[in-house]
């Protein structure tokens, strides 16, 4: 049983980290533990349980800004935003279903540290794009702040965005300030049935390159399309494109998008309610949630290269897959519990990067979870880590082996 340290506030955090640094101890940072199985397995001397650092500290809807302590549940933030018809526009995915855990357990700090996003990534960006300011404790046990609470700010290095996706390896975020946006009044999804991967890729590219302002674009081969409740077992592949905005605009763009897509094949659509449910499924990788023993990978790549990469990995391993981000994001489910790292990385061949998402502890220990870096980037990553955390106190080895 590991020691658990439960700080009450930022000063407690600073003291705990300073003590750990002095005593050459290593800490695992935990909000509510919903993403503990992601990343490389960490070996630490104690857990730093941040769950007491919770609560929204500032929310000004007319300024589009919200501040919260790092371990505030996402669900609490989303509820507060919903009351004012706003949202976290980066649509942070909920890893609960995929990792065989409860839904809605994530914290805002965890969402930022993991650099989460969702299908709307292609239009508005990810967690990093909404980071405005941060207070944090470095691995030296020093409290520092960076950024601010305004959207336009170039005062000093953009450390808030850097901390997004850093998996708690650089600093312990204690307070986070985010840009929030109005929630779209209406949404609809246009469906294209039966397109091949490459045909669907072209269709998504045409839609993204139109003035229809598509806010999400996914393509599912017949399997897993048949495993998505909102699609009612179509028996063929489904390409889905989401439109959001004021009703007049959504209606107009829907007609326009259907005209654009007609040459690609048979069309259908989802209404607002079904749309919302469908994109949540895509966001949370629901199609691969039910066979929890199988390994899941995620690949970020150039959209037009995705069909070739998917076909290559499928040929080598028999993996199932689907595309989000108009092809830029590929989710792959391996047929078994082996990581198949070699097949994934050899096929990808540097044309993007692959992350092992769901795998047994043994598999995560034997494979590289994140894409290995070339020597120059590896060295600068190590120097960056040391500039925040010279003693390697914070989540050591969560992204890369340290030694």
């Amino acid at each position: 049983m590991q020691d658990a340290i439960k700080p009450r506030d930022v000063n407690d955090v600073a003291e705990a980290v300073a003590s750990a640094a002095a005593g050459e101890k290593r800490l695992e940072l935990i909000g509510r533990g919903s993403k503990r199985e992601l990343g490389r397995a960490v070996q630490t001397d104690a857990t730093l349980d941040l769950s007491a650092l919770s609560g929204i500290t500032l929310y000004e809807p007319e300024e589009l800004v919200l501040s919260a302590r790092a371990a505030t549940p996402i669900s609490e933030i989303e509820k507060a935003l919903e009351e004012r018809k706003q949202e976290l526009a980066f649509e942070p995915m909920d890893y609960g279903p995929l990792l065989n855990k409860a839904r809605g357990e994530g914290t805002i700090g965890g969402a930022i540290a993991a650099g989460l996003s969702g299908p709307r990534r292609i239009k508005v960006g990810s967690a990093r794009d909404f980071m405005l300011g941060v207070s944090a404790v470095s691995g030296r046990g020093e409290i520092f702040k960076a950024g601010g609470r305004v959207v336009k700010n170039v005062t000093g290095y953009d450390l808030p965005r850097l901390l997004a996706g850093s998996w708690g390896t650089l600093a312990v975020m204690t307070d986070i300030t985010l840009k929030v946006l109005p929630r779209a009044e209406d949404c609809a999804t246009v469906l294209l049935f039966g397109a091949s991967d490459s045909h669907a890729n072209e269709a998504m590219s045409a839609a993204m390159g139109s003035s229809c302002e598509v806010s999400a674009a996914a393509h599912l081969p017949q399997w897993p399309a048949d495993n998505v409740a909102e699609l009612d077992a179509p028996g063929k592949s489904v390409t889905a494109l989401r439109l959001e905005g004021v009703p007049q605009s959504v209606a107009y763009r829907k007609t326009k998008l259907q005209e654009l897509l007609r040459p690609f094949g048979a069309l259908g659509s989802l209404d607002a309610t079904k749309s919302r449910a469908f994109w949540k499924s895509i966001r949370d990788v629901a199609p691969f949630a039910d066979r929890t023993e199988r390994t899941v990978w995620k690949i970020s790549t150039t959209p037009s290269l995705a069909p070739g990469i998917a076909a290559g990995i499928n040929a080598a391993t028999g993996a199932h897959y689907y595309y989000d981000w108009a092809g830029g994001l590929l989710w792959l489910e391996m047929p078994g519990d082996k990581p198949e790292e070699n097949a994934v990385r050899t096929t990808l061949a540097g044309r993007g990067h692959a992350t092992l998402i769901r795998a047994s502890a043994a598999a995560r220990a034997s494979a590289e979870v994140f894409e290995p870096l070339d020597p120059v980037r590896a060295a600068i990553s190590q120097r960056l880590k040391s500039s925040f955390d010279p003693k390697g106190v914070l989540n050591p080895g969560r992204i890369y082996a340290e030694g």
Partner: protein, 496 residues
């Protein structure tokens, strides 16, 4: 005036050898060492500061940049990178003992990739040059700083440039997908590409807005967007700036994010109208330009919604553009606001703080007090949607002490922005200009952490020194941790 680091005499004494070594790397006219020819490089857009560099070098290839930096690293020579030199904060101000590295010859668009909606460009391509390269197919590059005709994409990366459309479409950091850059050691490295998420740490976040202190960017990949089908603008006059500010808050509160939303105060309105005759009302205290873009049906719907909100906030004049000419005319005055102010005053000093929007009336009234205190007039243009304020302080550099008064007035304004919860600079950068004000926003620990990041990239402190950070420290000192073999007050981990 802000003082620059004292020149290193040992470097200056080696000048001849340095110039010949650079000529070995960049043959022909790519190395400029005589004073007359170096004159155009002595300052950037912050013309109050001038300094001839030791030598100017204009490389044409990434390999040359790599060799130059590697040589300078080995020989401990400072380097100041420069794009088009349009910085308003002195980011490209040369150093007497430094190499001025001009990236102007990197001026080619390398690849236009419509299927993936990306453009790969060399850093010396102008911001507008990217849009020009793709507009024939109906695409554009969204961030549009006012200097877009001249400023380069490399400079935009260095400064994280914004523009009037960034509330809806984001800043440079939200629109750049990847860079190739050369580190001070000469190592060439790539971050990002045409994919979206970062592999490992999000280095792009750090590099964008780093003001040329972390590396020299040699290639940039940006995302491009399809042009909206239509755009319409509203021109709305208010009897008070409070009413205009209230209107902005209500528009956003109603869930509307306009493509652009700009405010001008009375002195700025009058200067602009006298210059371009845009048809601005002259009897109002504040003027709002609200631009809505998207499909026509959406624009028309939103124009009605915004008009209703504006009337509810006490608008005294309200005009909606009915043609593209009229829309552009509404903008003409705003876009020409700086030169317009330049016509009514021998010199002006442009500030760039950002404030939480709700504080605008307070900041404007405090600014009027400061204006009286310093005996200098100020005109305000304001990116109202995102709180970025550009006060233009009018002064005459030929009058004894006026520049200094203008600088002090400006510093007071920026401290005021920080005091109300804002920041020192929204889009122009810290550079030389605001360097010594950094402690009003950040304490020593905050700044030390930033300096340590700098050390991770540039351990000898050779890239653009004297900018951004008020004090320079040796990286070895910065890295030290005051820990004494584990024998501290907390030998064990505390348990709460």
């Amino acid at each position: 005036m802000v003082a620059m680091p004292a020149p290193d005499t040992s470097v200056l004494s080696r000048r001849e050898a340095i110039v010949s070594a650079l000529r070995e790397i960049v043959p022909g006219e790519g190395v400029i060492a005589n004073d007359v020819a170096m004159r155009p490089y002595e300052s950037d857009g912050l013309t109050a500061y001038r300094q001839l560099p030791m030598v100017v070098v204009l490389p044409e290839t990434t390999e040359q940049v790599s060799k130059i930096l590697s040589y300078c690293y080995e020989n401990s020579i400072k380097v100041v990178p420069r794009g088009a030199g349009t910085s308003l904060s002195g980011g490209a101000l040369p150093l007497a003992d430094g190499v001025l590295l001009g990236m102007g010859k990197f001026n080619k668009v390398l690849e236009i990739d419509y299927p993936n909606r990306a453009v790969v460009a060399q850093p010396g391509v102008t911001n507008l040059g990217i849009t020009k390269a793709v507009e024939g197919s109906g695409f554009y590059y969204a961030p549009d700083p006012s200097s877009q005709i001249a400023c380069t994409i490399g400079g935009n990366v260095a400064e994280n440039s914004g523009g009037v459309h960034c509330l809806k479409y984001g800043l440079t950091t939200n629109n750049v997908l990847g860079v190739e850059m050369v580190l001070m050691t000469g190592e060439i490295v790539r971050f990002g590409g045409k994919h979206l998420d970062a592999e490992g740490y999000d280095f792009l976040s750090l590099i964008i807005g780093s003001e040329g202190l972390l590396g020299v960017v040699t290639e940039v990949t940006v995302r491009i967007l399809k042009k909206p089908e239509t755009a319409r603008a509203l021109l709305v006059g208010f009897p008070t700036s409070e009413a205009a500010g209230d209107c902005v808050a209500k528009i956003i509160g109603a869930g509307i994010i306009p493509g652009g939303m700009e405010m001008m105060d009375k002195p700025a309105i009058h200067a602009a109208e006298a210059f371009v005759h845009a048809g601005y009302p002259l009897d109002v205290e504040a003027l709002l330009i609200v631009e809505l873009d998207g499909p026509e049906a959406e624009c028309n719907h939103l124009i009605e919604s915004v008009s209703a909100i504006a009337k509810g906030c006490g608008a005294v004049t309200l005009r909606a553009s009915t043609s593209e000419e009229e829309r552009l005319k509404f903008w003409a005055g705003r876009k020409a606001a700086f030169p317009a102010v330049g016509r009514i005053s021998p010199d002006y000093y442009c500030m760039d703080g950002t404030i939480p929007r709700a504080k605008l009336p307070l900041v404007l009234s405090r600014m009027r007090e400061l204006s009286e205190k310093y005996g200098l007039l100020v005109a305000n243009v304001f990116h109202a949607g995102d709180g970025n304020l550009h006060p233009l302080i009018l002064y005459d550099a030929n009058k004894e002490g006026e520049l200094e008064r203008a600088e002090n007035f400006g510093s007071d304004i920026l401290r005021l922005c920080v005091e109300v919860g804002g920041v020192l600079t929204g889009e122009h950068g810290v550079g030389v200009e605001k360097r010594d004000l950094m402690p009003s926003m950040f304490n020593k620990t905050d700044l030390d952490q930033q300096l340590r990041v700098k050390c991770a990239f540039d351990d000898k402190g050779l890239l653009n020194p004297g900018k951004v950070f008020p004090e320079l420290h040796r990286c070895a000192e910065m890295g030290r941790m005051h820990v004494h073999g584990g024998k501290t007050a907390f030998p064990d981990l505390p348990r709460f």
